[in-house]
């Protein structure tokens, strides 16, 4: 019975993700796009839960749906002052882009259908955090620290970039 539930869950979640994602890339109002992005991210978090990755799902919600989307909304507000309704126009390339991405999807789909998966036949342990922690802080401690430095540097760089430049060239 569980199979059917998870199947139904997958279908629902997929529909939610793809639907909101399509809205994200088609809506003319950028703020609406970002709001639909949040929906899509939450759907992805649901997929993660379905895949027994509860920690990643939590991170997904916290970082993507929370922090990133709020940051993007701020960005939109900073650069877009008037006429938010038409803030996300489409350029001329979409006529070429649509068949290309469609073709790409079909090709990947065909390859996926052809692929034969070697299933491990094992269950993901339920205690994911307890298992993730030693890996992240022992085996992957150096990438972990590097990622920390990367974040720091990126945010510092962002600060430097957006600082107001005075007319005499000084950065205040």
């Amino acid at each position: 019975m569980e199979n059917i539930y998870s199947y139904i869950a997958f279908v629902l979640l997929s529909g939610m993700i793809l639907g909101s994602a399509l809205l994200v890339v088609t809506l003319k109002n950028l703020v609406h796009s970002v709001l639909w992005l949040i929906v899509a991210f939450i759907g992805v978090a649901g997929i993660f839960l379905l895949l027994n990755a509860d920690f990643v799902a939590a991170v997904q919600v916290l970082v993507y749906a929370g922090a990133v989307c709020i940051m993007i909304v701020f960005g939109v507000m900073l650069v877009q002052r008037i006429d938010m309704a038409n803030s996300n126009p489409v350029n001329r390339r979409f006529k070429i882009a649509a068949p290309v991405v469609g073709g790409l999807f079909i090709v990947i789909g065909l390859l996926t259908a052809r692929a034969q998966w070697v299933a491990a036949g094992k269950e993901v342990p339920t205690q994911t955090v307890q298992n993730l922690a030693p890996i992240l802080l022992q085996d992957f401690v150096i990438p972990f620290e590097v990622a920390a430095i990367l974040l720091t540097v990126a945010l510092t760089g962002a600060l430097v970039l957006v600082k107001e430049v005075k007319s005499n060239g000084d950065r205040s």
Binding site: F55, P89, V101, W117, F140, G157, L161
Partner: protein, 105 residues
Amino acid sequence: MATGLNPSYFVALSAALFCIGLYGAISRKNAIAVLVSIELMLTAVNINLVAFNKFLTPEAFIGQIFAIFVITVAAAEVGLGLAIVIAIYRNRKSVDLDDFDWMKW
């Protein structure tokens, strides 16, 4: 298998999400919309990683670790990307990517 789902479903979902993101990244004029689309593409990759983690190497957790790193880097990328967009906007009063073509010939 706990679920009747096999990896193909997730790969197909991920491909669809990726293609949608790609379409947005190519066809939107607004730089921030492009950033948003790129986030979609990165998320699609994360779905793949976690799905493979579950079905292929359930006890190693490498896929999940990878997904966490991707999320981290994506966060940094969004922050920087927005900063650049804002900086350019200050100079050019525009966020249309087609106007950002002063690296041309």
